[in-house]
């Protein structure tokens, strides 16, 4: 018996399609919502039903709680899946869904409220004995206080917005001068972006990597951790390439991450899926808890590939009240998986978004390749939302095999009409430091010069070849032949050709 009859997915793009796949597999009906800009979007076509919720800007559509709940009621949905981003971690949304008599697929509004900000998370971690970076216990009131604190814990320090998210509002200060420079500016940015100017300070990890664990819990206090994901390859604190397991962890260290995560989950009675984000130093081997993401994570697919679990189906069942169907001991890592976030962005132009129609589109497939996509040929990539259009995931029996498959699949994936980060990823796959797992969160920033140089050389080559192709009239070249191919109109003619081509005709 499926736990629900009909589930509304209050999201768009690839994650909406991914979640609907789980809903359909479980024998339930999938309902989409869409904004003006997404009228013809893939997730709308893929759903069993779809409802219009408002104009293109997300504040009037995908962030509009009332309109989404109205749509869910109209559709007679039993549950709402928020995906990631948008309203996925908003307690008021979870509450509105609960009040309308439907199930919110995620932790309850009550649990969400237990960890509202990053500082709440740090406090809970401290109580649970999950390691955190030395730093302030609450918001830091003034610059003077900040300077004193930074002096005590030692530079470099990270200055973060307490209510921040999505990698925005995080700055590193290497000394007092830099701290003085950024303090007021970050305060203003935090107020503009998140409505609250509160900043806090913590010690920066030495040569940090970004490692997160997949926490899974049921409503009855059982927990398991589906291991870790390494999300160190980032630009501007936003992830680009993730992999599982992390090449930097020993089995003992992995155990430490798992135990630290479970302690945190137990402390707040967390349930469903959660992601515990940590900074990890290769040098000092310290792990610092950063924050808990109370939702399905973008990069959940690589955990699915190495554990064989369908996390979305599991999430739905756990929220419906089922027991955790496995123990920690039963979980095993098999092989290695890498995810590439396919963003419609121009890597040559500081990753500015590239909006437009997808006029050429070829999907990779074959052994060990998974593509979660929100676009198809003819799709419009609107400028209103996140630039992530698809996620390419590859699998191998070990890391080296996964990289080989990744390189092949990146070449097979062809998206024309908008700029994508695919050319950059091809360069990263060929980079020795990536191949040996030797990187920190500064990897892209440190190597940007060489990557940009190589990308520009490629652009020059493409331009030069285009100039040759056009000036030699090659674009017109073979068209007549294509059109001139004889297509037999009569089935008898086809029969005749086949009969003569077949050796058996001789007998």
């Amino acid at each position: 018996m499926p736990p629900f009859g009909k589930v509304l997915v209050s999201n768009r793009g690839e994650i909406a399609v991914r979640v609907m796949k789980a809903i359909k597999e479980m024998g339930m009906k999938a309902v989409a919502v869409y904004s003006e800009a997404d009228k013809y979007a893939l997730h709308v076509k893929y759903a069993d039903e779809a409802y219009y919720i408002g104009p293109s800007p997300s504040i009037e559509s995908y962030l509009n709680i009332q309109r989404i709940v109205d749509a869910a009621e109209k559709a007679h949905a039993d549950a709402v899946h928020p995906g990631y981003g948008f309203l996925s971690e908003r307690a008021d949304f979870a509450e509105a869904v609960e009040k309308a008599g439907m199930t919110f697929i995620g932790p309850s509004s009550e649990v969400i409220n237990r960890v509202k900000s990053k500082l709440d998370g740090k406090r809970v971690a401290k109580e649970a004995g999950t390691p955190i970076a030395p730093g302030s216990d609450g918001p830091v009131g003034s610059l003077d206080e900040a300077l004193k604190l930074a002096e005590r814990i030692g530079y470099p320090v990270m200055v973060k917005a307490a209510y921040g998210g999505g990698g925005i509002g995080i700055t590193r200060a290497d000394n007092a001068d830099q701290l003085m420079d950024i303090w007021e500016r970050n305060k203003r940015l935090a107020r503009e972006a998140f409505g609250r100017p509160d900043l806090y300070i913590e010690k920066a990890a030495v040569r940090p990597r970004h490692i997160e664990t997949q926490l899974i819990g049921d409503k009855y206090g059982s927990y398991a951790v589906a291991f870790e994901r390494e999300c160190t390859i980032q630009r501007r604190n936003q992830k680009l390439i993730e992999e599982a397991p992390s090449p930097a962890l020993t089995p003992e260290k992995r155990q430490e991450f798992i135990e630290a995560s479970v302690r945190f989950g137990k402390r707040i009675g967390y349930f469903a899926l959660g992601t515990m984000e940590f900074a990890y130093s290769d040098v000092t081997k310290d792990l610092y808890f950063l924050e808990l993401n109370k939702r399905l994570q973008v990069e959940h697919g690589i955990t699915e590939l190495i554990t064989g679990i369908d996390l979305v189906k599991l999430q739905i069942r756990l929220v419906a009240g089922e027991h955790l169907p496995f123990t920690q001991e039963e979980l095993k890592i098999r092989g290695h998986a890498i995810e590439f976030r396919i963003n419609a962005e121009d890597p040559l132009n500081n990753f500015t978004g590239s909006s437009g129609y997808v006029t050429y589109y070829k999907e990779p497939n074959g052994p060990n390749v998974r593509l979660d996509t929100g676009i198809e040929k003819g799709s419009w990539v609107p400028p209103f939302y996140d630039s992530l259009v698809a996620k390419l995931m590859v699998y191998g029996e070990n890391r080296a095999r996964a990289i080989e498959t990744g390189r092949r699949a990146l070449r097979d994936l062809k998206i024309g009409g908008v700029k994508t980060v695919i050319p950059l990823y091809k360069l990263i796959m060929d980079d020795e430091d990536y191949q040996t797992g030797n990187f920190t969160t500064a990897y892209i920033a440190d190597k940007s010069e060489i990557f940009v140089k190589k990308l520009k050389e490629k652009e020059m080559l493409k331009t030069a070849l285009a100039a040759s192709v056009y000036n030699r009239g090659l674009m017109r070249g073979n068209r007549t032949q294509e059109e001139g191919t004889a297509r037999p109109k009569s089935a008898w003619k086809t029969y005749g050709v086949q009969a003569q081509a077949n050796a058996r005709v001789m007998w």
Partner: protein, 167 residues
């Protein structure tokens, strides 16, 4: 010798000089010079082979797109030949005229902070262009007086489009 402006479908434009001698094309751009030798048709339909340095590259034509080496797809909207005025150097043409501020990206103009006739200092913000939730501020490359503003707020711009003329 020809001067070409290559318009990519994603909004970039490149100005290159193009010189064809038998099978060899010499192409020059801001980035440098490249000699492309046309080797002829490949062994498949719609495949053409070129030699650049010691590397052989293939271009396959598919649905109006050019596929480089079977892996990288791109499309050219058009290639225009530019008139070359006497005394004008190629370098000058490639970079655009001094004082012309071109859009570095495709997007939408959000605000124009100056008006025609304003005096601006070097580095002063002129306008901002938004692309996918992030705003890029375009600053004056030189000090001068705003002679012309070619765009209005809300207007869509492509990369390489003229925004402002400074004098």
């Amino acid at each position: 010798m020809k001067l070409l402006r290559v318009y990519m479908d994603t909004g970039e434009t490149y100005v290159v000089s193009y010189d064809q001698k038998d099978n060899k094309d010499t192409i020059k751009s801001e980035e440098g010079e490249m000699v492309v030798e046309f080797l002829g048709k490949g062994t498949r339909e719609n495949e053409y082979l070129f030699k650049v340095g010691d590397q052989i590259h293939s271009i396959t034509l598919d649905e109006g797109f050019l596929i480089l080496d079977q892996e990288e797809e791109y499309k050219v909207d058009r290639v225009n030949e530019l008139p070359v005025k006497e005394g004008q150097s190629i370098e000058e043409l490639m970079k655009g005229k001094e004082g012309e501020v071109l859009s570095p990206l495709q997007g939408r103009v959000v605000v124009v902070r100056v008006k025609e006739g304003d005096a601006v200092t070097k580095g002063q913000p002129l306008l901002s262009v938004e692309a996918m939730k992030s705003e890029t501020i375009i600053s004056a490359p030189i000090a001068g007086v705003i002679e012309k503003i070619a765009v209005k707020p809300g207007q869509g711009v492509k990369k390489g489009d003229l925004l402002v003329v400074l004098k």
